[in-house]
């Protein structure tokens, strides 16, 4: 894949912004993903070079953590909680409903007719007393019934 100048700028800025930190790898990866929505493959080489580490080491870090993705997500990222407290409030049925409505499974992106939404599972959002919970582009929503999800889909995922 050929990197775009947008990607190159974002990666270089992220590296320059965190170079002074102890243990700079995660801050760099976060800065890149915050800006681009994903970590392009060549970023591994650039970070390795900047920190004088091997590419294998950086690649190992990028692939260890669930948060980092190597390809662009859809227009929106929805993370729905699969953990116990939300299950106790009916999260499984909510998840089935969401998958059906979006037309995609976990770790997939819905077709653009359904809004181009990337669906991810998450294991607790710290919202366990007002579940089921999900987040849309980082914004948390609680007490999410199927109906409330349909409303959110109209207002937030349109």
């Amino acid at each position: 894949m050929i990197e775009t100048s947008l990607e190159v700028d974002a990666v270089d800025r992220a590296i320059a912004g965190s170079l002074h930190l102890d243990g700079a790898v995660l801050p760099m990866l976060h800065a890149i993903q915050d800006e681009l929505g994903y970590v392009p493959g060549f970023a591994t080489d650039r970070i390795a070079e900047a920190l004088n580490l091997s590419r294998a080491e950086i690649y190992g870090v990028v692939t260890f953590y669930h948060d980092f993705r190597s390809t662009p997500p859809g227009r929106h990222v929805v993370k729905v909680c699969r953990a116990e407290a939300c299950q106790a409030m009916g999260a499984d049925a909510l998840v089935d409903h969401m998958k059906q409505r979006l037309g995609c499974d976990f770790h997939e992106t819905s077709p653009s007719s359904a809004g181009s939404v990337t669906l991810e599972p998450v294991y607790c959002l710290g919202n366990c007393a007002v579940g089921p919970s999900l987040s849309i582009d980082g914004k948390l929503h609680g007490r999410v019934t199927k109906e409330r999800f349909d409303d959110l889909a109209k207002t937030e995922l349109g």
């Binding site: 243990g23 995660l26 407290a85 294991y123 948390l140 929503h141």
Partner: protein, 508 residues
Amino acid sequence: MTRVFVPLDASAKSVGADQVANALAMMDGVDVVRTGSRGMLWLEPMVEVETPRGRMAYGPVQAHDVPGLMAAGFLEGKPHPLSHGLTEEIPYLKQQERLTFARCGVIDPLDVADYEKHDGFKGLEAALRMSGAEIVDVVTKSGLRGRGGAAFPTGIKWKTVLDTPADQKYVVCNADEGDSGTFSDRMIMEGDPLVLIEGMIITAVAVGATKGFVYLRSEYPDAERVFGHAIEAAKKAGYLGDDVRGSGKAFHLELRRGAGSYVCGEETALLESLEGKRGVVRYRPPVPAVSGLFGKPTALNNVNTFASVPIILHRGADFYRDYGVGKSRGTVAFQLGGNVKHGGIVEKAFGLTLRQLVYDFGGGSASGRPIRCAQIGGPLGAYLPESEFDIPLDYEAFAAKNALVGHGGVVVFDDTVDMAKMARFAMEFCAIESCGKCTPCRIGARRGVELIDKLVKSKRREVEHDTLLDLCNTMTHASLCALGGLTAYPVESALRYFPEDFGLPVRN
């Protein structure tokens, strides 16, 4: 202008607090103050009005309720169907013992002066008059044990750091709060972040560290925002920097974001992650107190552990020790969640029973159906059936039942729960989150999922059952860390108390 308090807590916001704050801000005579949450999450968004009699609570309030509340005269604390009277008199709150959460929901979390007015930085003031060894001694005598899960005595850990000579020492806060069903770390960081900062400064002074890190899970963007501002506010007020309040001691604090890995809550994996590596668990010894971050002595504690330190230094070891039972001293902020009517924070001294927590505070199930069980202590905690709810919440009593108090999360289930499914989920979660270093966990968890699938369909269930118990035994005794080592707790407890869900005969 009348002051009206609206939480900025993530849970409150997730059910509409921002919209309520905006609607209130447009009303004449209203001065909106954003606070943390009082922890009565079933009432969120809960709005409080300052009146001459004290703060009056209304909730759950939605933005469209605001005109009606104004018309009813809620600015004078007048009655309304959503009114709960004086906040402090609500039984859920009144019956608690709020030490760590004393200020949460009361003060403006980013106002240093407000914090100081409510006894803030009194613990640090006392600590700055003491030697490191004296501070460690007070914390040891208080009986404080780590609130992150392992319940290790905090003073003993600090003594090791203090006694290990080094050119650099660190204080690291574990704000990974990965346990499902827990949110007390998040609520402190959003509702009273300065108490965590104060606790970390005291620790640094005690052990001789000059640099600290807070490792916060990425699932908490609101906490990240609030805590980031709190660090800036503390710097400005001279509590962080090269010379902490003229003491001649330096302490610098940095906030770091995790990346969605549960095992990075395990302390050595956390340190690897902070160093910029894969979150793989380290062999020990050495313990982090001797060789931790970048190989230096490191005082690593949970958010609620650090947040309990200021009051211990301010009020003394005996004051704190007087709460609790046996070897479990002080208070814990229990977190009630799942299928429970009144979910939220219940800070109580150790020793109350699970039944009191789930029924007296929790009010029974949210669905109105009978409660079947609760999982205590996160995804690695045991499932206890309703018949066992008279067990006191105390570390040793739980350990005797092969269960955990852990970080204090209590997740309630009604009688529609399928325990074979929950056991399978525990194995699946372990497989997803395993760091991969040791075989019993990495491979065992996958085999566990397969075995449970086979068991519920099998005609020779007793055989699969024995194999599953054998696997649990291997994982318990041969795993390097508690992720693989404790996954058997939820699985075995589900098998023991609910065999019928697996199609196994009920034993007497």
